[in-house]
């Protein structure tokens, strides 16, 4: 009744896209060497890619279906790390960078950012949860959907909360995007999804109204807690020229750098704007846009689009709901990060600390994305093609 189509199982297109992104990443980091404090970031990035490739190889060995058995173990490990970070434990290893307690710094080994890994862990846990639920409740009713929604939120909210408290707004938003995408494909009926969207819109509108009509009240509420910086980023995004200091100063310089790239860019090494912070990590898109202009940036965005397209394709092909859900979560993760990162560089969104997947320098993040790709490749590799299923 069923047989495997062996030849189509390794997705070379996806691998090719990742290799291209890797080349762009290493090359971009190489071109901005002079602006960085430490040398050889690009070599380190190559090392991370190689480590990522090896990880992919390891992941490919095991059937991704086995992930269902360990999904809660991973989720728990991620949560434990986040809780430890929350209490700045263990002292000396838990580390604060730029005001956020988001890192473990191990002697010799280097730093680790649990929030990055939590993204993949959450995807797996939610996928597993949805599959179990849907197996149990074959029919979607209002009651069962609400129950599913409650379970999803119960799993997604704790890590989101802990990451938000670090405070890492970017990480929080990525987890939100993952959760939203997975709710979308979980089979919850449209009426509930629409009412959720409506509820979210109302909440958003009321916050905005509150801010517009009672800015002082909001200010005093926001001022004293960890989210104070969110407001300042928001205001400087709305009107950068008026806040020509701090955050807006960054944005003005970044947008000048990107804008001056114009259609075809200034060529390799053609940098004219200095003092761009996080040039090799969160702001790496700036150097690509300045050197290679609209054409270069569009090629990169297209490449990202192809990546997402490929992921959707794999998700569609997979006839195992668990696989599809995982792929969807990963799509949510990548899409949001790409949109947020590039969007903030070109003034479409407020500035938030988030790396550009595959391009930004960073061990934890690159490794996380490679693991995600490894899982996707695994899902594709083990997709059973039903000959007579058309």
């Amino acid at each position: 009744m069923e047989s495997k189509n062996k030849t189509a199982n390794i997705d070379y297109t996806l691998i090719l896209i990742i290799i291209l992104l890797g080349i762009i990443s290493v090359f971009s980091i190489y071109t901005i060497q002079d602006f960085l404090l430490l040398p050889n970031y690009y070599i380190k990035q190559i090392v991370w890619y190689i480590a990522g490739a090896i990880t992919i190889g390891v992941i490919m060995l095991v059937d991704y279906d086995r992930l269902r058995q360990v999904s809660w173990v991973f989720y728990s490990i991620g949560m434990i790390m986040l809780i430890m970070l929350h209490f700045h434990f263990p002292p000396g290893i838990a580390k604060e960078v730029n005001g956020a307690w988001g890192w473990f710094e191990f002697p010799v080994l280097g730093t680790l950012q649990p929030a990055e890994f939590m993204k993949v862990f959450l995807v797996i846990a939610l996928a597993h949860l949805i599959v179990i639920h849907n197996e149990k409740f074959k029919e979607h009713t209002n009651k069962s959907d609400c129950w599913l929604l409650a379970k999803i939120l119960l799993v997604a909210l704790p890590p989101m909360g802990l990451i938000a408290l670090q405070p890492d707004l970017g990480g929080f938003l990525v987890l939100s995007a993952i959760t939203v995408c997975m709710i979308l494909v979980s089979g919850i009926r449209w009426r509930i999804i629409f009412s959720l969207v409506g509820l979210a819109l109302v909440a958003l509108m009321s916050i905005l109204m509150l801010y517009i009509y009672f800015p002082e009240a909001v200010d005093t509420f926001i001022e004293d807690n960890e989210f104070g910086h969110v407001e300042s980023r928001f205001t400087s995004w709305l009107n950068p020229e008026a806040h020509n200091q701090g955050g807006a100063y960054q944005l003005i310089r970044v947008m000048r750098a990107i804008g001056s790239g114009q259609l075809s860019g200034k060529g390799v090494g053609g940098f004219e704007v200095s003092h761009i912070p996080e040039r090799h990590t969160d702001m790496i898109f700036t150097s690509i846009a300045e050197q290679f202009g609209f054409i270069g940036s569009s090629i990169l965005i297209t490449l990202f689009f192809l990546l997402i397209y490929r992921l959707i394709h794999i998700g569609l092909q997979s006839n195992d709901p668990f696989g599809s859900y995982i792929v969807t979560g990963i799509i949510g993760m990548f899409t949001y990060q790409i949109f947020q990162n590039i969007g903030m560089s070109i003034g479409l969104l407020p500035i938030t600390g988030l790396p550009l997947p595959f391009i930004s320098y960073g061990g934890s993040s690159t490794l996380t994305y490679m693991i995600a790709i490894g899982i996707v490749l695994n899902i594709h590799y083990r997709t059973k093609v039903y000959m007579f299923d058309s």
Binding site: V185, G259, G261, V273, I308, I312, P321, G347, L348
Partner: protein
């Protein structure tokens, strides 16, 4: 049944994934669209913004002008100094950033070489703050609920209070490296945004300076700058008149910041705040070089242009003869010391000796000396500023002015004789001369220092009728002002106009409704008080045929010369006549004659018999009664004014020794000092004539004239 459901479920997953895909497509399209706006629509504008250059001006300090004495001897020099400076960025660096800088900087400089000195720099609070840096969470956890409601400063203080020695002793405070880091961090903490703060400027070794200079790129905000210090070449001599300047940390005085800022100073500029440094600030400061740098948007310098050429501060040539000054200082101190040690009980209140010497014709101040005996520490110190700050009763020294007031107003005629016998006004004590002299004329009155003659001048000025033991009838109260107006013409009671930021003018007494007799005291120098400098100007005016000249300490302003020599003269301060005494020349001649007789046959003759220089002078002895622990103490101010040589006066002097001799009004210290300073003056003059040193510093010009001659 099951198959159907499965189909339904399967069919909705692709549908929803497709919706997700459409959503992704929209998002990515938005990105491309916005990118098009930023890069293609607004790209040119962005490029324009980048190409825009900015002009910024930077000022470069120039060395301050030096000071020389009238013979070109360097008095005040600049000594170059290296300093390490920290300028915090706008809104300052974070604490951790400062610690990082301190740690880095500590690799290159040591705040103190010796462990002891280093330990002194780091106080307990500094140790607590250091511990807090690494244990902020723990420190915060120790706060009580009430303390958490405090403002940031209060909370911080409360947290520091709770840090105990066994906390901060986690660190090894025996380690000089740690102490050094903390000492540096302390300086960094004290800096204010955008204004340079000196971290170390004393004993910065050449190596430290070089190390810091080489590593500036690792040390944001740190700079290694050349600086200079004012160093006197003559020790403490004249130091109060030379004055002080602020350090670059102090900058311009805060209360006058507007004044300086509008004159092109920057906040950390060093300015004169006392003495000649303050008075001649505009001359000494020079012109800062202003360079305009053109920078691109990244702060890279793409061009520079000198807008204003820098010019070193101009040098001052003082009127003071530093050699004479030093000798006079020595004489004054030696005599004070010798008189006090010879008769300690009689002179137990004597503690100052003040001398001013000036050229009566030009107003050149030749020396300002003041020795002070500090009884508590039993030491003699130079307090020459008292010559212009302290005012004392001058006694009979001013009788020359009183006689001239009498002659000019016509109340006495030259040669008119007045009978010197005790005078008694009802309700006051009997007043007399130091002995009853019988009939005295104006010359004899000065020569013998007749008080009664002066009393009569005063009574006549007041158009009053005097009878023994009766009040002064018809007393004209305006006479106080009339007499003071005469004195003012000689500089007594008014500013002398010396080129210093401050001088005292003395006390002017208010006689009250019954103080008629005080006019008589005023006439013999027993009422208003005057500074030694005022007395010198007074005697100079008499020596100078009634021309009152402004005493001045600066003779010339000269362009600074790169070599250690004087540059060309930019401005020369010639004789500045403030006023001419409005009276007949013959009257002045009478007083000059009287002053001559004081020395030859009068009150001073005994002390001046052996002096070979033609000195004219007037002595003064004023009763100086003061209260010490409620006890009336009678002392005498001993004063002497004079000039020499009397036919062609070139030096005038005023000597004031307040509170000399209890019970003895003639211990003679003023004459002892007077003799020695006059001898020294002429002796130095003769020496200079022999060695060919002239006052004229324009030697080239002088040579040319000689050749022509």
């Amino acid at each position: 049944m099951g198959e159907k459901k499965k189909k339904k479920k399967k069919s909705q997953l692709p549908f929803r994934l497709n919706i997700l895909f459409i959503f992704v497509f929209v998002l990515f399209s938005l990105l491309i669209l916005q990118l098009g706006v930023v890069q293609i629509l607004n790209g040119e504008e962005a490029q324009k913004q980048i190409d825009k250059t900015e002009n910024t001006q930077a000022t470069i300090s120039v060395p301050r002008g030096l000071m020389y004495d009238r013979y070109g001897t360097l008095i005040l020099d600049n000594v170059p100094q290296r300093s390490i400076v920290y300028t915090p960025p706008k809104n300052g660096d974070s604490v951790l950033k400062r610690l990082e800088i301190a740690e880095k900087l500590a690799e290159f400089i040591m705040m103190e070489e010796k462990m002891d000195d280093l330990e002194k720099l780091v106080r307990e609070r500094d140790k607590k703050e250091y511990w807090y840096l690494f244990n902020a969470t723990e420190a915060a956890a120790r706060l009580t609920e009430e303390e958490k409601d405090l403002d940031n400063g209060g909370q911080y203080q409360a947290m520091l209070d709770k840090i105990k020695p066994n906390d901060y002793n986690e660190f090894n405070w025996e380690d000089p490296k740690l102490l050094n880091i903390v000492a540096i961090k302390k300086e960094l903490d004290a800096a204010y945004q955008l204004s340079p703060h000196t971290i170390k400027n004393e004993n910065v070794t050449e190596l430290e300076y070089a190390l810091v200079s080489e590593h500036l790129y690792e040390l944001p905000g740190i700079d290694a700058l050349p600086d200079w210090n004012r160093v006197s070449k003559v020790g403490n001599t004249l130091s109060t008149f030379i004055g002080n300047i602020t350090s670059s940390d102090q900058g311009i005085p805060r209360d006058k910041s507007d004044y300086y800022l509008t004159r092109g100073y920057s906040r950390n500029d060093r300015v004169g705040i006392s003495g000649l440094e303050e008075e001649y600030e505009s001359v000494l400061r020079g012109q800062k070089e202003v360079v305009e740098y053109t920078t691109d948007n990244n702060g890279n310098i793409v061009g520079s242009e000198t807008i204003i050429e820098g010019k070193s501060g101009n040098d001052l040539v003082l009127t003071v003869d530093i050699k004479l000054q030093q000798e006079i200082d020595k004489i004054v101190q030696e005599e004070l010391e010798s008189f006090i040690s010879q008769n300690p009980s009689e002179n137990k209140h004597m503690e100052d000796a003040l001398v001013v010497m000036m050229d009566p014709q030009t107003g050149d101040v030749l020396s300002l000396s003041g020795a002070h005996y500090d009884r508590e520490d039993n030491e003699y110190v130079d307090q020459s500023y008292r010559t212009i700050i302290d005012a004392h009763l001058p006694g009979s020294t001013i009788k020359g002015a009183t006689v001239l007031a009498g002659l000019d107003s016509g109340v006495v005629r030259p040669g008119e004789e007045i009978y010197d016998t005790p005078i008694k006004i009802a309700g006051t004590r009997e007043k007399s001369s130091w002995r009853n002299m019988g009939y005295v004329n104006d010359l004899e009155a000065i020569e013998k220092s007749s008080n009664v003659y002066m009393f009569n001048v005063a009574i006549r000025l007041a158009t009053a009728t005097y009878r023994y033991e009766e009040p002064l009838y018809n007393f004209d109260w305006d006479s106080f002002q009339v007499l003071r107006n005469y004195y003012n013409q000689f500089g007594l009671g008014v500013e002398t106009g010396i080129d210093l930021p401050y001088e005292a003018t003395g006390l002017v007494g208010d006689p009250g409704p019954r103080g008629q007799g005080l006019l008589l005291n005023l006439a013999i120098g027993q009422y208003d008080t005057y500074t030694t400098l005022q007395l010198a100007q007074y005697v100079s005016t008499i020596a100078n045929e009634g021309y009152r000249v402004r005493p001045h300490l600066v003779k010339e302003i000269r362009q600074s010369n790169a070599k250690d020599s004087l540059g060309p003269v930019l401005e020369s301060f010639d004789t500045d006549v403030l006023n001419r005494v409005v009276m007949d020349d013959s009257y002045i001649d009478r007083v000059q004659e009287g002053f001559k007789r004081v020395v030859s046959s009068g009150t001073a003759s005994g002390h001046w018999r052996d002096n070979k220089y033609k000195v004219a002078a007037k002595t003064g002895t004023a009763q100086n009664i003061f209260y010490d622990n409620g006890k009336e103490i009678y002392t005498y101010n001993l004063a002497l004014v004079g000039y020499a040589p009397y036919d062609e006066p070139e030096v005038a002097f005023a000597i004031m020794i307040p509170r000399a001799g209890t019970g003895n009004d003639q211990n003679g210290i003023h004459h002892a000092i007077g003799n020695r300073i006059i001898n020294k003056y002429f002796q130095l003059k003769e020496e200079r004539q022999q060695t060919g040193i002239t006052e004229n510093l324009n030697e080239e010009v002088a040579d040319q004239e000689n050749q022509e001659g």
